[in-house]
Symmetry: C3
Subunit: 139 residues, 3 copies
């Protein structure tokens, strides 16, 4: 049984930018030599999120628009009273989409569908240097 953990770095623009990190994960999986097991993708921080999405130019507009309808930027949040940094919406979106995601590995491949990409979303209201953990456990 092997456990391979790597941290990848991403410079982002924030503002619910959606970044396709599938290739990064596949490269780490290949290097690991692990054939069967579980790959966990984890965003360090409380204003990001990890999920899957068909990564195409329509949906990467639709998802931020949807999130802005249910959790609007610019609304008054109690969080602003604590820090005054105007990113209450970023924290709520992160708590909703969540910062962790796990994908089975079978025969050296992630079990993703053809139009199913793993995406990191940066909900913060400013550019960030992000660290994302990729951990693969298996044999």
């Amino acid at each position: 049984m092997k456990i391979v953990s790597e941290i990848i770095n991403k410079k982002t623009h924030g503002n619910t930018e959606i970044i396709n990190i599938t290739d990064d994960i596949q490269e780490i999986l290949k290097k690991s030599g692990i054939e069967n097991g579980l790959c966990t993708v984890f965003c360090i921080g409380s204003t990001g999120g990890i999920t899957t999405l068909e990564y195409e130019r329509g949906l990467i507009k639709d998802l931020p628009e949807f999130l802005n309808q249910i959790i609007p930027q610019g609304k008054k949040y109690h969080h602003d009273a604590t820090w005054g940094d105007g990113n209450g919406h970023s924290h709520l979106r992160s708590a909703l989409i969540k910062t962790s995601f796990s994908i089975p590995v079978i025969n050296s491949e992630l079990t993703l569908g053809t139009w199913q990409q793993v995406v990191f979303i940066d909900f913060d209201n400013r550019p960030r240097n992000r660290r994302i953990v990729i951990q693969i456990m298996g044999k």
Copy 2:
């Protein structure tokens, strides 16, 4: 340490149909002989979702109604401009509910509550033949 991976097939009607897959998972767990470990359930594709729900006839109406309020079918999504298949809402619901779910296994049992079932939800707007990965890692 053992890793058992199986893919189950489900014919669905789509349209946010909710399918209780708890028995399928329990059968694979039993066959695996694994006593302690982690079971991951993963939907292949970007228009499905996995979560837990008390599987009863009220909630299997409530959940689709709720999702249709926040992510309406029939609304114009940018996704339609790419493919024209009218299932932008399916992709957004999938990105929100997410396609992966993990349950601890203790003493050969999933640690689910009595009224807590594992459900696969097909958000697509047409019948589908679905493949769902059940992976158990443990000993």
Copy 3:
């Protein structure tokens, strides 16, 4: 490879009370002696949820307010026709936030950010005695 599973107990007030369980998890991790692996946190029951949040007094008001906007308590749900216990909103919030969450462990530490706490949320409409599974697999 080691698998350590513990169940922690929490008395809650319900009503979307948010409880920081990070210290409980860290204590079990420390006791386990596991240096690298995966920690899964799982709420037994269909009216709770696990996610990460900056645990500060603003956000622990913002998150319940947001959830009450999209899934209002007091609205008529089909679930009430089955049990009449008035907690349809609790089940929907749980299906949305989900009852499972996994965090990588690297060098004996959870890979959480400084302002990223693991929280259990009790969505039920009454006080509960809750059991939450903490499972760590690794070496």
